[in-house]
Symmetry: none
Subunit: 195 residues, 4 copies
């Protein structure tokens, strides 16, 4: 339904600008060019609108990441690609990125009550790359895909947040390769403890 999408688009824009607590149904309605009541023809209530909005956003992010990863085969390259694509998306679609980095955390609902299937899918994407690397013997056998995946998301997300909050936005190209280097090769000159 076109009208529903208009509302969602408007909601994304407003949320990205105003944050969770300061976004009123009225604001979204105005931005979408509809009456307040119209929102309730398409969404049961504010929470449902938020959930649908988040799912829309995550679907988009997952689509972008999957498409980018399609042509890459090597685990290391996949990881680089993943990090690069996520941060590139932040630059290209800051509103989308803002929803994930900022808005998502501002709602207690998303953190606790809502079963976040799509975020789990996002994590799985990362975990699969890591597991693949371990299985292929490219990554250390001790690498824990669950923990590492989560840590990587945290790192990327925090860098995204920092970028979104900063006044003058330098390119995230460099940032993504710095993180990739750290993650793949480690900080140490030589292996800390030669296994």
């Amino acid at each position: 339904m076109a009208r529903q999408d208009e509302i969602l688009r408007a909601a994304i824009s407003v949320l990205a600008k105003k944050g969770f607590q300061h976004t009123k149904i009225r604001d979204i309605a105005k931005a979408a060019g509809v009456a307040d009541g119209t929102i309730y023809l398409y969404f049961k209530n504010k929470d449902e609108l938020l959930v649908r909005l988040f799912e829309e956003v995550m679907q988009r992010v997952l689509g972008i990441l999957r498409k980018a990863l399609e042509k890459v085969t090597e685990p290391e390259e996949k990881l680089r690609c993943f990090l690069h694509t996520h941060l590139h998306m932040v630059e290209e679609e800051p509103e989308i990125a803002s929803i994930i980095s900022v808005v998502l955390r501002q709602s207690t609902t998303f953190l606790t009550e809502y079963e976040n299937t799509l975020f789990v899918e996002y994590l799985r994407l990362l975990q699969d790359i890591l597991q693949e690397g371990v299985d292929a013997g490219v990554f250390h056998s001790g690498v824990d895909p669950i923990i590492t995946g989560r840590a990587l998301f945290g790192a990327v997300d925090e860098l995204a947040l920092a970028w979104l909050m900063s006044r003058q936005k330098s390119s995230l190209e460099h940032t993504s390769s710095v993180v990739a280097d750290m993650v793949l090769n480690g900080l140490c000159q030589s292996l800390e403890r030669p296994a």
Copy 2:
């Protein structure tokens, strides 16, 4: 002032449980065992209470980290110690950790308007360790302390959040060493690209 501390303690507890948006002055007053009006004898308004609370929390975290780092000299060990101490603190004082991982991000004020000196200090702690390592030749010369520091905070913070949100809480001991290994040695078996 003892009463002020009682209120802050109560506020930490309530915020950790209910989150930012759902915490009412009334809740804090009840938890502290005082009347609503009493809150305003010690804090100008809700926002100031929140700022003071956050500063209290960050001071505590900074204190814990600095104390732990005191006796460590080597950069690698410092980094391990940092990660371990932060995650250990999460286990020991989940309410404190919750303020940082959850509540902090729920307030637009903290993300945008509030000049977050203490968080900058936290980051500086990390950055100094990294810079030290680079200067000592222990870490790669290409390591960017700013980006890397922020990424590390993001990683640790996300793992803390995941732990706080999980039903059954496994030890974070293992988690901290997994992250430390990744960060120091990288995921790859051999250096990805021999420089």
Copy 3:
């Protein structure tokens, strides 16, 4: 807008009965038969409601006075007409009168911050009559229209207040002519100081 007028009418009634300090938004809403929140659809806040209410009242009073003065030409008669019309209005619309005599003075805002254009217009009406009389040689050349005008308002207003506060309300017809006589002819039998 009809609803706005209903609210203003209700507000006048409540203010006249309860006075400035004891009038709550809730009271006005109840008197108008609307919900509390509805008030805020038509007025930004309580202060704005009060200002709009006062302007409504003053417009009405000015209208009544101007209409009554229309057909009078002689300065003395104009003055008599002015005094009579004002006090007649007090009898006919005590609520309106109460706003001017009582409520207006109860708000520091009206006395100090608010630029009271309409009250200035009221005073000008009086001053113009006095100036006209001086110019026509009907009134003493020494008459100061500014001071005298203000004094006359004070006299009328105080008599209105006394009437409003009194239990048994005698006619103000007599009162108005007593004042007019004093003002026009003076209290003295013969001129005090034959100029």
Copy 4:
């Protein structure tokens, strides 16, 4: 009791500055240099403090007026003296004047519930002068002392208010004589209606 007077003096000063609605017990306590609770050792509550304060003020005004009138014998001169003394007092003790012109009217209590014996005395002072003049044949026999007295108070009070609210304060000497001339001789050149 000295302490009580200190509080009253402080209260007069604060009320004159801040007006009725904005004067808090706290403000008075601070101005008097005592603790909030101390106020309640000398006054049952805020209303009683206000009543006592008003009585203090009126006693002072009555004293001043009576003293000034002591040596005057002729009704016309008495009236001139009354007006002059009242307005002179406004210039000399604006805080006192402010209580009468502004603060008194801001409290519904004083206007309605409180039996204002001292204000009645003030009015009687005026009425007696007028009655005396009528009895002595100096004033018209038609002069109504009740109405005229009230009107005179209104005139003087309004002029006092205007002066108190004005930025640059011109002398009230002139004002008092303008009013006296009007009241005694009337505005008209010749008697309006030759009796």
